[in-house]
């Protein structure tokens, strides 16, 4: 009997949390926003979401097969990337264009750098930005829900606010207006975010600092409706689901706060002073690049080490 003993280094027990369980929690948290997108934008939204998820998973599996490395799609991270990418697309986007985004996200940004845990920017956001510059026309042909009334039935809230108009905050919060699939309903995104915090998948620090920081800086820069602007565009989607991506954000709470503040500042700068009405993607991508430096500066002081030594 004794010759079958296993000898390993301690500890000999592990928590039940796994990478797959975490990613499954993220997918569950994304479900309310996905449901809202189908209600507002119809079956076409569902088609885009299913297409992007399936293609991202297939591309990763194919890549692993071709490279003869273990197939990693079981960790569900490719599915998360696919759904997040779809959330950044307008409902009417041609499928072949979405496919280009998926390929950039999975092959170029994720797998070429070594797969899960090795990418230095958020794959879904990088895919989105490549599509935004490649397909500038179709990427800004936003769909509008049939139920939307007034100005928001034909223009995005951010555009309206930038042109000096105003939009009802409750409409923005619930999401009955135009935009890309996943960003419209702050309520649905918030529900997902609360679920993730309750399940201890993410910490609230990044989204809270990001959103409050954006409101603060937008007000400082003279935005007439900073709160409505914060409820518009991709701020909630980015703050809750993109700025909390493990791989491309800092390790410590202090680092996460710095990251969130930087994202808020850059978003407000772009929204206020740049030609583009939206700046969430760029702010997160730029801050992704700063993460190694933030990590270096925001480490916890080791136990028993005196301050300043």
């Amino acid at each position: 009997m004794t010759n079958e003993l296993y000898v390993t280094s301690s500890p000999h027990i592990h928590s039940s949390k796994t990478t797959r369980a975490i990613m499954l929690d993220v997918l569950i948290a994304l479900a309310p926003a996905a449901a809202v997108s189908v209600v507002l934008f119809g079956a076409r939204a569902l088609l885009l979401e299913v297409f992007c998820v399936a293609l991202c998973v297939a591309l990763e599996a194919l890549w692993c097969r071709l490279r003869r490395i273990p197939v990693t799609v079981g960790d569900l991270s490719a599915a998360v990337t696919g759904l997040l990418l779809a959330f950044n697309l307008p409902a009417g986007l041609p499928l072949w264009q979405a496919a280009v985004g998926c390929a950039v996200a999975i092959i170029v940004v994720k797998m070429l750098f070594g797969g899960i845990g090795c990418n230095f920017v958020n794959p879904a956001l990088a895919g989105r930005v490549v599509m935004a510059v490649s397909f500038a026309g179709t990427m800004t042909e936003y769909a509008y829900p049939a139920t939307a009334e007034g100005l928001v039935a034909s223009a995005t809230p951010l555009g309206i606010i930038k042109d000096g108009g105003s939009v009802d905050a409750l409409t923005l919060f619930l999401g009955n207006h135009g935009g890309v699939l996943g960003e419209v309903s702050c309520a649905a995104i918030l529900a997902g975010g609360i679920y993730l915090v309750a399940r201890r998948v993410i910490k609230p620090v990044t989204p809270v600092v990001f959103i409050l920081g954006e409101i603060l800086f937008a007000a400082l820069f003279g935005c007439p409706h900073p709160i409505e602007a914060a409820l518009s565009g991709g701020l909630f989607l980015g703050a809750v689901f993109m700025a909390t991506d493990y791989v491309t954000t800092p390790y410590t709470d202090l680092g996460k706060a710095v990251f969130g503040l930087g994202c808020g500042l850059i978003t407000a700068l772009i929204r206020t002073f740049a030609n583009s009405t939206e700046g969430v993607s760029y702010s997160i991508l730029l801050m992704n690049l700063a993460v190694p430096y933030i990590n270096d500066l925001c480490r916890r002081r080791p136990f028993g080490k005196e301050a300043g030594k």
């Binding site: 009997m1 004794t2 079958e4 003993l5 296993y6 000898v7 390993t8 280094s9 301690s10 500890p11 000999h12 027990i13 592990h14 928590s15 949390k17 796994t18 990478t19 369980a21 975490i22 990693t72 960790d75 991270s77 797969g115 899960i116 845990g117 090795c118 493990y246 791989v247 390790y251 410590t252 990590n295 480490r299 916890r300 002081r301 080791p302 136990f303 028993g304 080490k305 005196e306």
Partner: protein, 435 residues
């Protein structure tokens, strides 16, 4: 107070308790046919064997002499005849001399044993050195060293560690329930002779029964009882000091540098028993548990008893064991064979029929290890540095402060052996002489 480094409370992590043996009264001493007494059952220099084949020994006869100050005597735990003195493979891969004694089953005490005269701190330290007592919480640091703090350190707090934060283990708890007087008398003795103004018994708040038993005995004794939140590793020395006093032990220093001496409840009870009877540390209360054991229990075991014999005394295996652990599941050592003996600092033997070898996945940089790290290090970055051969970088991130509590590995969703990587990094840094 200004000279100490202040620190916030160390929160630790939540692990399953599995303290199923806490209500089981300790069974009487078992009688193994032979005992194996390794000369290295403590931190520091191994003892030197001082008996030879064929020698007649009794319970309490010295069989190994301490080799220097940071070392400890080894005593026979049975009466009988020395079978051999031979090298023995320790679970950590090192070789140590071991004295094997065939027991006559009589447990005749060594006739020369006398209760020592102890009236000063020096006498206490000498007596404890002669008793072979080492830290019974698990680390096995020779206790007389702790009782002789450097002259430049003023000790103002004595902490008695009854946290027992490791899952499964209940031997300290049973010790408190079954012999609280020994513990309290031991504390009074150490407190008086070392002239320590404050003494605190620290328990986790999942042991209210222990607190109920101790409280009446502590009246007018000047000894405080502190209930700390149940978290792992509450009983790790540095964590306990931080959570009782708010002080951090400086990097690379000892508790005395924070003005504290920490002794395990079992250790103070052993000190008291030795001072009263002169009987050295020769038997231990051990928790035997795990799903492969027929009768999980607490049981008195002579030091040196082979684990396989101990398990037989607990009804044997009810399922084939896949893992035998000496100590708790978080910091215990996996044994390569049931031939290995119970040591002085062994507080539990676990036999598990399931192993958690799930395979390792890629690090997703979730930083759960950073949140879990007791010593506030950055394991995620240290592991990358180790894997890329950057030992200097790992050293700069204070990997040498790692206490190997296992929290990082426990928390890791990718099931990476982070604690093992920390150990390897520390070993590499020591070997390379990086300062």
């Amino acid at each position: 107070m200004g000279k100490y480094i202040k620190t916030r409370r160390v929160r630790g992590i939540r692990v399953p308790h599995n303290k199923g043996t806490k209500d089981c009264a300790t069974r009487g001493l078992i009688s193994p046919p032979f005992v194996v007494l390794p000369m290295s059952q403590h931190i520091g220099a191994p003892a030197t064997p001082c008996v030879k084949k064929g020698d007649r020994v009794f319970v309490g006869t010295v069989v190994g002499r301490a080799n220097g100050f940071v070392s400890a005597d080894v005593h026979s735990s049975v009466s009988g005849t020395v079978r051999e003195v031979s090298p023995f493979l320790m679970p950590n891969g090192a070789r140590s001399e071991a004295v094997v004694i065939d027991s006559d089953g009589e447990f005749t005490p060594e006739p020369a044993l006398r209760a020592p005269e102890v009236e000063t701190a020096e006498q206490l330290s000498q007596a404890v050195a002669a008793s072979g007592i080492v830290g019974l919480g698990g680390a096995g640091f020779p206790t007389h060293v702790k009782l002789s703090p450097p002259k430049n350190c003023v000790i103002d707090t004595l902490i008695i560690n009854g946290a027992e934060c490791e899952p499964y283990i209940t031997s300290d708890f049973r010790g408190i329930v079954e012999e609280p007087e020994s513990i309290v008398e031991g504390i009074k003795l150490v407190k008086r002779l070392l002239r320590i103004p404050r003494a605190v018994i620290a328990l986790e708040d999942n042991k209210p029964e222990a607190a109920e038993i101790l409280r009446p005995l502590l009246k007018e004794s000047g000894i405080e009882l502190l209930m700390l939140p149940t978290s792992y590793p509450q009983g790790a020395e540095k964590v306990l000091i931080a959570n009782v006093t708010g002080r951090a032990v400086p990097v690379g220093k000892l508790p005395a540098d924070a003005g504290v001496v920490v002794l395990n409840v079992g250790t103070v009870a052993s000190i008291h028993k030795y001072i009263k009877t002169g009987m050295p540390l020769v038997s231990k209360r051990v928790t035997v548990d795990g799903d492969a054991v027929s009768e999980p229990c607490n049981i008195f075991v002579p030091v040196g008893t082979p684990v396989s014999f101990l398990i037989e005394c607990c009804g044997g295996y009810k399922a084939p064991p896949k893992k035998l652990i000496m100590g708790g599941p978080m910091m215990g050592v996996a044994l390569y064979s049931g031939d290995y003996p119970v040591q002085k600092n062994t507080n539990a033997i676990l036999a598990l029929s399931q192993i958690e070898l799930t395979g390792t996945n890629a690090c997703i940089r979730c930083a759960r290890c950073v949140d879990a790290c007791t010593m506030r290090l950055s394991p995620v970055e240290i592991q990358t540095m180790y894997e890329t051969g950057d030992l200097e970088g790992a050293n700069a991130l204070s990997v040498m402060s790692c206490v190997e509590c296992g929290c990082c590995t426990y928390a890791c969703p990718a099931k990476r052996p982070i604690t093992q990587i920390m150990r390897l990094a520390k070993l590499g840094i020591r070997k390379a002489g990086i300062k």
